[in-house]
């Protein structure tokens, strides 16, 4: 009804005319939506409050030098991002990105870097175990706990209380996890998302781990750009949009959004002042959650009846969403520093949770970078930085970096000419307005679904805070929500016009390892994990008798119990995964059905295996490493036993010799 009336109100817009779509926010979510809709023939206008597009993926250019909000990690599993980069922009990944297999850690006072690699092949698992970050048994426990969480069958229902436990809650419910292992999880989380494990939802972390736990996987973990975000992504994308006829207004802030006759009406404020409110057929709000809520609720004095909150009052609940600023300083040196490794380096134990990337080894060499080192230094814990002026904060970060990496002279203050730093090129930004959305424990249930057309008339939401299969606030999450909003808009348009405009918009679907595979892996590795946990406990109690934590001396004795319980629970979950009909079956029937299902899976698998005499693929790295590993372990054990037997050969146990051959 409302729709029909609105069309009469503007007769210029016949059914065949291109619908006018406003996209509020020029971050990667808004730009992705703009790209797809323009390709399908919609008339798209993008409004971006800042002078440059890109939002959290933007760069500020000072004296010709691009300073990214942060030089992003592009994970290999960002299927929808890579589709845009490779197919829409037509770029080759390998030309513009540098593959990364993991991160490096530097401890205070250490001269060598520790390697934490994505355990996606057995070789890297082995390297991790012996990396020295934790003792070998605790490293086993760490990796196993990741698998355990990845495999954990959360209910998938937002009312489920299990959805609301945080990472620590999950870890301490595991019998085998040690304190140090929990610390490493916390460290990873803080480094990557600036939030502690006591506020990160276990479900969200699980989602992240699931994306990494495809095993074996020969692809790199992630990729780093060989240039600035502006140069490599945002500018090409903006050019592409211009070619498609998209109108882009930068430095234009949308200050109000009203629903008039069932259609969005935008009030925008540009440098030259406030323009008259402008009606659109559809709008996508692709701003961060805070800006979206301000538009949805309206400012004091505005008519609340025309605001989104009048249609969808639940939007008011989103005000408790959190975000964090991650201060970053780009340090350009006067010379090349020796011995800084390539890729992301975490400064383990630094109070500001510093991490550093040497972009001069990464970015395509320009005259500017050829002669010098340029480090991008980020502080995941902004609260640890003294509340002083911006440059003083940047200098505080540099000083802390210097403690871990004492290979340069930082001077006495920001701008001190008696230092190795080229201050004119260096740049500090507090990133107060480019904040990272925080997926904390209870947020998932409140996060809106991107572009849910049922809720709002002709208005769609996008942005990394919306629900997506990527869950954690990442580029992929933002791209996905942009595409979902565009998809919903296209479908709604098709419903009201009876015809789909262009090809249906689709999303790339990622193939994740199923829960069953992860559970099976967990079941198989369970003995190793508990064994390792006992080993760790034993070595700790040998190292410091008495122990730090009172009451924990007897943990090793309880391990077998929690092991047994864990084993059965996992087996039961696996059974339910394989055959959901088991929920109502008797125990005996349940066992039988599960086994028969498992047998069918095996049979299926068997069909895909080479038979005798078939050409055989070269043994996978997995197979060779495993057999080498198992063989070596077996031989070592036998050798140790024989040695302990002081040369006494084992009791003959060779019935199996061909002694029986008789001469004819």
């Amino acid at each position: 009804m409302a729709k029909a009336r609105s069309r009469k109100a503007s007769p210029a817009k016949a059914a065949s005319a291109r619908p006018e779509v406003a996209i509020i926010g020029g971050g990667i979510a808004g730009l992705s939506a703009a790209l797809r809709l323009a390709q399908r023939g919609f008339a798209v206008t993008v409004f971006e409050a800042k002078p440059e597009l890109g939002g959290n993926m933007s760069s500020t250019t000072v004296h010709g030098i691009d300073h990214d909000v942060y030089p992003h990690m592009f994970c290999d599993w960002y299927a929808n991002f890579w589709t845009i980069f490779e197919q829409d922009l037509g770029f080759a990944r390998a030309t513009h990105f540098e593959p990364q297999d993991g991160v490096k850690l530097l401890e205070l006072g250490a001269e060598t870097y520790l390697d934490l690699r994505n355990p996606s092949t057995l070789a890297t698992v082995w390297e991790n175990l012996t990396s020295g970050i934790l003792s070998v048994p605790e490293m086993i426990v760490l990796m196993f706990s990741m698998l355990d969480l990845a495999a954990y069958p959360f209910g998938g229902d937002v009312t489920d209380n299990l959805e609301r436990i945080d990472v620590n809650g999950f870890l301490y419910s595991r019998g085998y996890v040690t304190e140090d292992v929990a610390k490493v999880h916390n460290y990873i989380l803080t480094l990557v998302w600036s939030m502690n494990s006591d506020v990160t939802a276990a479900k969200t972390y699980q989602d992240f781990l699931r994306h990494f736990s495809s095993f074996p996987n020969e692809q790199p973990l992630a990729w780093l750009l060989r240039g600035s975000l502006r140069q490599k992504i945002v500018q090409p994308l903006a050019d592409k949009l211009r070619d498609l006829g998209v109108t882009v207004h930068t430095e234009t802030m949308v200050t109000a959004l009203d629903i008039i006759d069932g259609r969005p009406r935008l009030t925008v404020e540009a440098r030259n002042g406030v323009a008259a409110p402008q009606p659109f057929d559809n709008a996508i709000i692709a701003t961060p959650a805070g800006a979206m809520i301000r538009l949805a609720m309206g400012a004091p004095g505005e008519d609340p009846a025309t605001k989104i909150v009048a249609v969808e009052p639940r939007i008011a609940q989103l005000q408790h969403f959190r975000d964090a600023a991650i201060p970053v300083v780009d340090i350009y040196f006067k010379k090349k520093l020796a011995g800084v490794p390539q890729g992301q380096i975490g400064l383990k134990g630094s109070p500001m949770m510093l991490s550093v990337i040497d972009i001069s080894q990464l970015w395509e060499t320009s005259s500017m970078l050829r002669e010098r080192t340029a480090l991008v230094l980020a502080a995941s814990d902004a609260f640890a930085i003294p509340a002083v002026g911006p440059e003083a904060r940047g200098f505080a970060m540099i000083e802390q970096l210097h403690r871990w990496l004492p290979i340069f002279n930082p001077g006495k203050h920001w701008g001190d000419p008696d230092s190795d730093i080229e201050w004119a090129m260096s740049h500090f930004r507090a990133n107060d307005t480019n904040r990272l959305f925080i997926d904390d424990v209870t947020s998932w249930a409140f996060r809106p679904t991107a572009g849910d057309p049922a809720a709002l008339p002709n208005i769609f939401l996008a942005g990394d805070y919306c629900q997506s299969s990527a869950d954690m606030a990442t580029i992929e999450a933002a791209v996905q929500t942009g595409l979902l909003a565009a998809q919903a808009l296209q479908a709604a348009d098709a419903r009201s016009h009876g015809k789909m405009r262009g090809e249906p918009i689709t999303l790339a679907v990622e193939q994740l390892d199923g829960g069953a595979k992860l559970l099976a892996a967990k079941l198989a590795l369970l003995p190793a994990a508990y064994g390792a946990s006992a080993w760790a406990a034993l070595s700790e109690s040998l190292a410091n008798p008495g122990g730090e934590r009172p009451g924990t001396e007897n943990y090793p004795l309880l391990l077998p119990l929690s092991y047994t319980l864990d084993w059965w629970k996992t087996a039961y979950s696996l059974a339910l995964q394989l055959a959901p009909e088991l929920k109502s079956a008797s125990l005996a029937d349940a066992g039988k059905t599960t086994l028969l299902k498992a047998a069918d899976l095996l049979q299926d698998f068997a069909r895909r295996q080479p038979g005798r005499g078939d050409p055989r693929p070269p043994p996978s790295e997995l197979a060779t490493t495993f057999s080498a590993f198992a063989g070596a372990a077996m031989r070592a054990a036998e050798a140790a036993l024989t040695k302990a037997a002081r040369g006494k050969p084992p009791a003959p146990d060779a019935p199996y010799k061909r002694r029986w051959r008789v001469k004819p």
Binding site: L602, Q603, G611, R612, M634, D653, P655, Y656, W660
Partner: protein, 494 residues
Amino acid sequence: MAGDRFDVIVVGGGPAGATMSWALARQGINVAVLERTRFPREKVCGDFVEPAGLRLIRVMGCDAALDGPTRLPITANRVYFGPHLAYRNTIPYYDGQHGQPRHSLIIPRAELDAMLLQNAEDTGATVLMATEAGAVRREDGTNQVDIRCGDATRSLSAPLVIGADGFESLVGRSAGLQRRDRRHIGIARRMYLEGVEVDAGETTIWFDEDHIPGYGWMFPMPGGRANFGIGVLSESADRFGLSVPKIFGESLARLRLRHPGCRNARAASKPLGGVVKAYGGIDRNHFHGGLLIGDAGSFVDPITGEGITQGMESAIIASRTVVAALAAGRFDADFLGRYDTEFRAHFDPSMLYVGFCAAIMRNWHFREILWRVTRRGFERANADPEFGRVAGAGFGGVDVQPRAILIQLWTAVFGHLARGGVDAVSALLAGRAPGGGAHDMLGDLGAWHRGWQASIADDAAWHYAWLADVARAFARMGPALATTENPRVRGLEI
């Protein structure tokens, strides 16, 4: 030519057919048995009749087959693993439960089958010797069986036909229930020996690397004679090119070397080959107008290859369905399906367990680990009769109690691993020599690892299909684990 009419036609006069016709004739049912050969005839067999079978033969009133100086009660056994004598003791599960004799007997099939069939004839069955069934047709709700006797052919009719015609069952083929699954077929060869001097009533069986999964046997009879043979799974023989005649010849040579009592053993008959189809491979044994029993219905023990007792038992169970069908005038497959339910209730608890073990053993590459484990089992049974009584019954006995066996075996396995682990760790910590336990355990793990790798390397597709079969066998066995009593021990009501 108008055919003679019967209530039931039984094709095949072996133990299964004879038992069936006896059971029907004694209830006044008009039954004809067709037997291709003229008895007494030779049947390739080990001639070994377990106590439960002897009990049944006595119930049928065939005492003549059991008694007299020509029978040698079997009460003891020797087990060789290669050259190594792992077991030499009495058979611990011959304990006389439920009226079973405390021994088994070696009864040459030429004698046994003739006596059983004669007994059926005496009870009132019509026995047509030297009469071959040529085809079974179903017409207007009755079966027409074309027979050939010498050069004469004619046809008989009956509402029900029972296939008791052995492993290549014509009746089964006519009903479309043919089975050619090598995973469930054993091939064997046997001959009679003379000049054997062994302790009274002590059989010998052996395991050797060249016929795995399978075993060899020497069953003594009075007068220095013995039944000697070997059997191996058809699938393995096929996949690994095992030659049964060659193994057979070498086995005899080895037996002469290993067993002092067989030093002078000589062949007393021509070696003959035979085939068995094991219990695991069946889907159903009933069809419109008939049932399959004995070898025709695949009732052979998957590990020992015994089928005489099973054949007779399946006949008794089937006879109940036959009686009910005649009383109700129903001969359709739906009605006859009750036979399957009944024989499964009787055989599943023991046979599915044995079938599960057999499924594991099908993997030829695991021969080393299986060899190690079974050999240790026999050695333990030699010293611990209670262990032998329960676990040993899985091999060669009717008294299979899956749950008791599993509990016992797993206790042993855990004990083994625990002892091995504790031995190894404490030895390493104390820097002293580890005991045998640790070596056994590591050896087992190593053997398992090698077997697994060899199997995958040889034929990965087969390997995973095999694993699926093992899982299925285990799944099917599951419910049977809940039964504490094996119905085969109690015996059938007659």
